[in-house]
């Protein structure tokens, strides 16, 4: 790599860190204000945590109730063991509809199973309609960097330049964010009014009533959920909520934790098919895709409680430095560090549980109280145990990495956890660390060096 190229990359990285740092600082402050308004915030978190845990403990029953209710309301429910199966279902519906284009609402589940690529291979173009997704999709070299604001790594000037080269070619958009948004509006309007099929994700699926909920800001979600003749919703099986009443908890927890607003601009709730209102056909695909594997781990399974608010990303010092793309997954930040290795298997992402300083900030903000630091430590233990039992060259490297992290800083982190009132965790953590410290291999490289190498930069 020439110096010039290398330097350019470094500079881009500096811009990326600045953009992310600015955005996360802003949203952290906003979130604190939004949360402080609710005197019962902690009780809502307790309820959110318990509702999720209870839904997981009764998952077969909840999914069957959901299926029955959606079917009774005129919808069709499909089950998909993995991403390939889900992708094939979507493709076959599109073929029956006879369309070579579908419009999409931002959905991490569809990103996770690489639906767009799978559809493209079948000659069906999936058009992202969320502003941030559009920004990312317009630049073939770009990738998402945040759950909620996938283009958080792009600042206004960069987005303007991108649009002026693509969807608003030849125009001068000016510096107002609203003019940039207007360009996206014009670009997509005709698609909303004409494309016959949409694909969405789901924030909630209510077992009791068969109601599906999508929370959004721009109205592209409403467009996709309302105007096309056929709607296909892909929902991870962990998104099921037992009762209608549970909405009262999550409609408070989610917006204040994610965009840090009292409420997001639009929330759509629909149940099957409604005569004279919305799609004539509704398909719900229930996706496993590794979730049952996560459920097997009694400690790790709490990762399935995640409502994808992204609060943990915004407070994470590691995320703030490396950005979301470094996590090599649609789930970045602290939640990605515990979810990705469990969904894909520890072998596939053994390093992610180390992408944290265990400072505990993610646990404090998590609206459903997922104890991310404890799960990280638990997964580190699993990785080391599994690797040791194999004694491969990778295992030796892993030991080196484990040792690299057995520093004074980690010990302090444990003390910090203990101060947070989670004594058992800190106690459980220290023996594990001690064991790692006894490993003979000296640290071969620091986490940051290793990270750079993994990212193929340097």
């Amino acid at each position: 790599m020439s110096f010039k190229t290398a330097a350019r990359e470094t500079l881009q990285d500096a811009q990326l860190r600045r953009n992310i740092g600015k955005a996360t600082t802003l949203i952290r402050e906003k979130r604190l204000r939004a949360v402080a308004e609710l005197p019962d915030w902690e009780r809502l978190r307790d309820a959110g945590e318990a509702i999720k845990a209870s839904a997981m403990a009764t998952l077969p029953e909840q999914l069957e109730r959901l299926e029955a209710a959606v079917t009774a309301a005129g919808g069709t429910v499909h089950w998909a063991r993995d991403g390939a199966e889900a992708n094939a279902i979507v493709a076959s519906i599109a073929k029956r509809v006879g369309t070579d284009e579908v419009i999409k609402v931002k959905s991490l589940a569809t990103d996770e199973i690489e639906l767009n690529e799978a559809l493209e291979a079948e000659g069906i173009h999936a058009l992202e309609t969320d502003l941030a997704e559009l920004i990312v999709q317009l630049n073939p070299d770009d990738k998402q960097s945040h759950i909620l604001v996938p283009a958080i790594h792009r600042n206004r000037a960069e987005i303007r330049a991108l649009f002026e080269q693509t969807i608003a070619r030849g125009q001068s958009l000016g510096n107002e964010a609203s003019a940039i948004a207007e360009a996206a509006r014009l670009h997509l309007r005709n698609k909303f009014l004409t494309v016959p099929m949409a694909v969405s994700g789901a924030n909630f699926g209510i077992a009791e009533t068969g109601t599906i909920g999508v929370v959004e800001s721009e109205g592209n979600g409403r467009m996709c959920l309302t105007l096309p003749r056929v709607l296909v919703t892909l929902m991870g099986i962990e998104k099921v909520l037992p009762s209608w009443q549970d909405l009262e908890v999550f409609l408070q927890l989610l917006p204040r934790s994610s965009t840090a607003e009292r409420m997001n601009p639009y929330t759509s709730l629909w149940t099957g098919v409604t005569p004279d209102d919305g799609p004539r056909e509704f398909h719900l695909i229930l996706l496993d895709g590794g979730r049952t594997q996560v459920l097997e781990d009694e400690v790790g399974r709490a990762a399935l409680h995640c409502i994808r608010c992204s609060a943990c990303l915004n407070v994470c010092p590691v995320y703030e430095r490396v950005g979301g793309q470094a996590y090599e997954s649609v789930y970045p930040g602290p939640i990605g560090a515990i979810l990705t290795p469990q969904l894909r298997g520890l072998d596939a992402a053994p390093s992610l549980p180390w992408a944290s300083t265990l400072c505990g900030a993610c646990y404090e903000v998590c609206p459903v109280k997922i104890d991310i630091p404890s799960i990280l430590i638990h997964l580190r233990g699993r990785v080391v145990r599994e690797e040791q039992s194999k004694l491969t060259p990778e295992a030796l490297a892993m030991k080196g990495m484990a040792a690299a992290f057995a520093t004074r800083r980690r010990y302090e982190a444990a003390q910090r956890l203990a101060r947070l009132g989670r004594g058992p965790l800190a106690k459980a953590a220290i023996p594990g660390w001690t064991a790692m410290r006894d490993l003979p291999e000296p640290p071969k490289e620091t986490f940051r060096d290793w990270w750079k190498r993994e990212r193929g930069e340097g």
Partner: protein
């Protein structure tokens, strides 16, 4: 039962083991009916205005006048079928096509209820709010909110709503936070939202 369904359910049962612990749900938060209605109208108006919607407070008898004052002359205005008389020409939504909806300048509808705590309006598909496309495609939405329909909190709203018809919870005009996390109005939903609170 499909093979996929059977296998997923088996995987879940195997993962959970024979007797998974089902926790009690502590619903110690402020429940439906637990917050007094005092000041909800003022609170709703203040909160919805913070989303950059324009709020108008009028007497029931002044609603039509207020709508005309907002719209001025010569606009193509859609309303749900059988909507209250606005004293101006309107287009009733007898299944307008999306192209016809797109040709409207504005739409005037009612609402099911509103939430003071969050500044949210609940549209429920039906006679008052119209169907979902009606309040979505036109660029300007004038929404009538009866002061008596404003509830204090989200739990109050969830208790009053149900799954029988599609619901859209609206908190301000269309917005995005995607550009440097600033909330800017106007991407795909209506870019202008006028809220008429009447008593």
């Amino acid at each position: 039962m499909s093979a996929a369904k059977a296998e997923i359910l088996t995987r879940i049962r195997d993962a959970l083991g024979p007797s998974p612990v089902v926790p009690e749900i502590p619903r110690g938060y402020r429940a439906a009916g637990s917050i007094a209605h005092d000041g909800v109208v003022e609170q709703f108006c203040a909160h919805v205005a913070e989303y950059r919607a324009t709020v108008h407070r009028v007497a029931d008898s002044e609603v039509a006048f207020a709508v005309r004052a907002i719209l001025g002359e010569g606009k193509r205005v859609g309303v749900p079928v059988g909507f209250r008389d606005l004293g101006m020409p309107v287009v009733e939504d007898h299944g307008l096509s999306v192209a016809e909806l797109d040709a409207l300048d504005a739409v005037v509808t009612g609402s099911a209820l509103a939430i003071a705590d969050t500044g949210t309006i609940a549209l429920v598909s039906g006679a008052a709010s119209g169907r979902r496309a009606l309040t979505l495609v036109p660029d300007h939405h004038i929404c009538l909110v009866a002061a008596s329909s404003i509830v204090p909190s989200v739990p109050d709203a969830v208790a009053a709503l149900g799954p029988d018809a599609p619901i859209t919870l609206v908190s301000g005009p269309s917005a995005t936070s995607d550009i440097e996390l600033d909330r800017v109005e106007g991407v795909h939903g209506p870019r202008v939202l006028d809220v008429i609170v009447f008593a």
